[in-house]
């Protein structure tokens, strides 16, 4: 997708989400859904950047989210750090952890990266619930129950006041989306794609695989950690339940439905998945059966997710151009 259509797509999607509170600001359930859409859309976007664009099969996305959440919660509860500062520090801590996890992944190929990063994810549960976690203030298996709201100029932002928090989340979402677009459309993004397509060819042209792979780990885990922190100050409580397979699966459904490597399609994936999960809630655990079936259907019928479907229905300029080149060629051949 070119820059213009990417920005238009994001502006329209987030714009529509942004004006929703004017109509449904009174509905607690809808406001909660909208806020979670914003948070998950960025977390899933980061996953799409590292997996879809850089081609690194990292399964550590939820782990980074949780590290950001715990960091900010521990900093603000145990050390009384103001939440805004704690959130930024949480982002940085997560970025550092991301780079450390990225280091062994540089030399590894696809499925092995998934194993290493998922092992890291699995290790977090015993860490936070065990004595080590308790020592740093994770609250063990009980978790942290009183994470303070975010305070900016004396105003408190938390789930007690849904509309203001929604706009704070929207503000951060827009900034981070801007950063993601800027990265993808710059030569950094080109380096990610080049390394994914052919690492040998890319490094033979002067791209440092080491630098750009660590960079993608660092940037995506910073943003993910920041949103983990945002989430924890929103809900006010945190336990190791966030590390459950359910969160992981939901996130994965978002990028599959949106289309892997089809950013910003993943934003629509988040809108769809969060809403569907909420609507299917009366079905209890059976909603996962439906969601699972949906993933199978999407993978089989729409390999590029919703984005692929949209592209099929409304072929953009690029396709038209390449088609006109083809017809031009064939007409030339006809003459020859």
């Amino acid at each position: 997708m070119n820059l213009k259509s990417m920005v238009t797509f994001l502006a329209v999607t987030y714009g529509l989400i942004g004006i929703m509170p004017l109509f449904v600001g009174d509905s607690v359930i809808i406001m909660r859904i909208l806020t979670m859409i914003l948070i998950w859309s960025i977390v899933a976007s980061c996953w799409d950047v590292i997996m879809g664009f850089a081609g690194i099969f990292s399964f550590g996305q939820v782990a980074f989210f949780v590290i950001g959440a715990y960091s900010s919660a521990i900093l603000s509860v145990s050390l009384n750090v103001p939440p805004v500062v704690a959130m930024l520090m949480a982002g940085m801590i997560t970025a550092m952890v991301g780079v450390l996890v990225g280091l062994p992944c540089i030399k590894l190929a696809g499925p092995y990266i998934a194993l290493v990063t998922f092992a890291f994810h699995m290790a977090l549960k015993p860490f936070f619930s065990g004595p080590l976690g308790k020592a740093i203030g994770s609250g063990g298996s009980r978790g942290i129950l009183s994470v303070p709201p975010i305070k900016i100029f004396g105003m408190a932002f938390s789930s007690a006041e849904l509309v203001p928090f929604f706009y704070l989340a929207l503000f951060l979402t827009l900034i981070c989306s801007g950063v993601i677009v800027a990265i993808l459309k710059s030569y950094w993004g080109t380096a990610f794609l080049a390394l994914k397509d052919s690492e040998d060819f890319a490094v033979s042209l002067g791209i440092s695989a080491f630098k750009y792979k660590l960079m993608v780990f660092g940037i995506t885990s910073f943003i993910t950690g920041l949103f983990g922190a945002l989430y924890v100050h929103y809900v006010g409580i945190l336990s190791i339940r966030v590390l459950s397979g359910q969160v992981f699966t939901t996130l994965m459904i978002m990028i599959v439905v949106g289309g892997i490597g089809q950013y910003p399609g993943v934003v629509l994936g988040a809108v769809f998945t969060v809403t569907a999960e909420q609507l299917l809630r009366p079905l209890g655990i059976y909603r996962f059966v439906i969601m699972g079936g949906l993933v199978v259907a999407v993978v089989l019928l729409l390999p590029d997710g919703i984005t692929g479907l949209i592209r099929k229905l409304f072929p953009g300029r690029q396709e038209k151009e390449s088609r006109s080149i083809e017809t031009h060629k064939s007409s030339l051949e006809g003459v020859g």
């Binding site: 030569y187 994914k196 397509d197 490094v203 042209l205 002067g206 390449s322």
Partner: protein, 238 residues
């Protein structure tokens, strides 16, 4: 300009490159030939830093042993691959600018990228995704991206493989033009003797990682040892 001193590469007990030394002079077209599995591509992978090795490689008087591939690319050694490699996610123009942005000394040089698109005659395909190119197109793209790094030396790995007679002629023309117009030293691995005798000034023949001979191509091609390793000893006239 490029000097290899006693380089050896072992894969387990196999010596793929065995105590090999050679020197490429500035401005040359230097050929490397040898039967399948002789270690030609491995030599390329050693020079461009893809594998660690024993021995020493100097480039422009500078020791480049042990440098990672991207540093060697920035130092002025560009290469292509035997099996064409492209960036299917990127357009032709973007792929070539990757070389310019990351490999060239001054960073991205759009004017230079345009010149290269013209030079390798990929102008009409510039906005196409690289996956749509045919074999010759892919090879030209690899060369174009390599040239965009403004190299001092270009190492081609079997550029003629899979091409028809007409395309081989075009490719030979292109290689000559790179050497004469752009003044880039060329090293070429090739199987077609005709291509080598036509193009190169010096020909290095290797077998099982060892040098058999290194001479002017007409002389090298008539060397009894070379004929033996290519065709078997029954063809050697006594």
């Amino acid at each position: 300009m490029l000097k290899a001193v006693n380089i050896t590469k072992r894969f387990g007990s196999l010596k793929a490159v065995d105590n090999l030394s050679f020197e490429v002079q500035k401005g040359q077209i230097y050929g490397i030939a040898g039967p399948n599995g002789a270690g030609k591509s491995t030599v390329y992978n050693l020079i461009t830093g893809f594998y660690p090795y024993e021995g020493k490689i100097e480039f422009d008087g500078r020791d480049i042993t042990g440098l990672p591939p991207y540093r060697i690319a920035k130092a002025g050694i560009a290469r292509t691959f035997q099996i064409p490699k492209t960036f299917p996610s990127l357009s032709v123009q973007r792929s070539i600018s990757v070389g310019s942005r990351f490999g060239a000394p001054g960073g991205l040089d759009s004017a230079h990228v345009n010149e290269i698109l013209h030079f390798v005659s990929l102008e009409t395909e510039r906005y196409q995704k690289t996956g749509l190119l045919n074999l010759l197109g892919k090879k030209k793209l690899m060369i174009g991206a390599a040239l965009a790094t403004k190299p001092k030396i270009l190492m081609l790995d079997e550029p003629m493989a899979g091409l028809n007679a007409l395309e081989i002629k075009a490719m030979m023309g292109l290689i000559r033009k790179i050497n004469s117009d752009l003044e880039i030293t060329i090293v070429i691995i090739e199987h077609f003797m005709k291509v080598l005798t036509d193009l190169t000034e010096t020909l290095l023949i290797i077998e099982t990682g060892r040098m058999i001979c290194c001479d002017a191509p007409e002389i090298a091609a008539n060397n009894p040892q070379v004929i033996e390793c290519y065709l078997g000893d029954t063809y050697v006239e006594c």
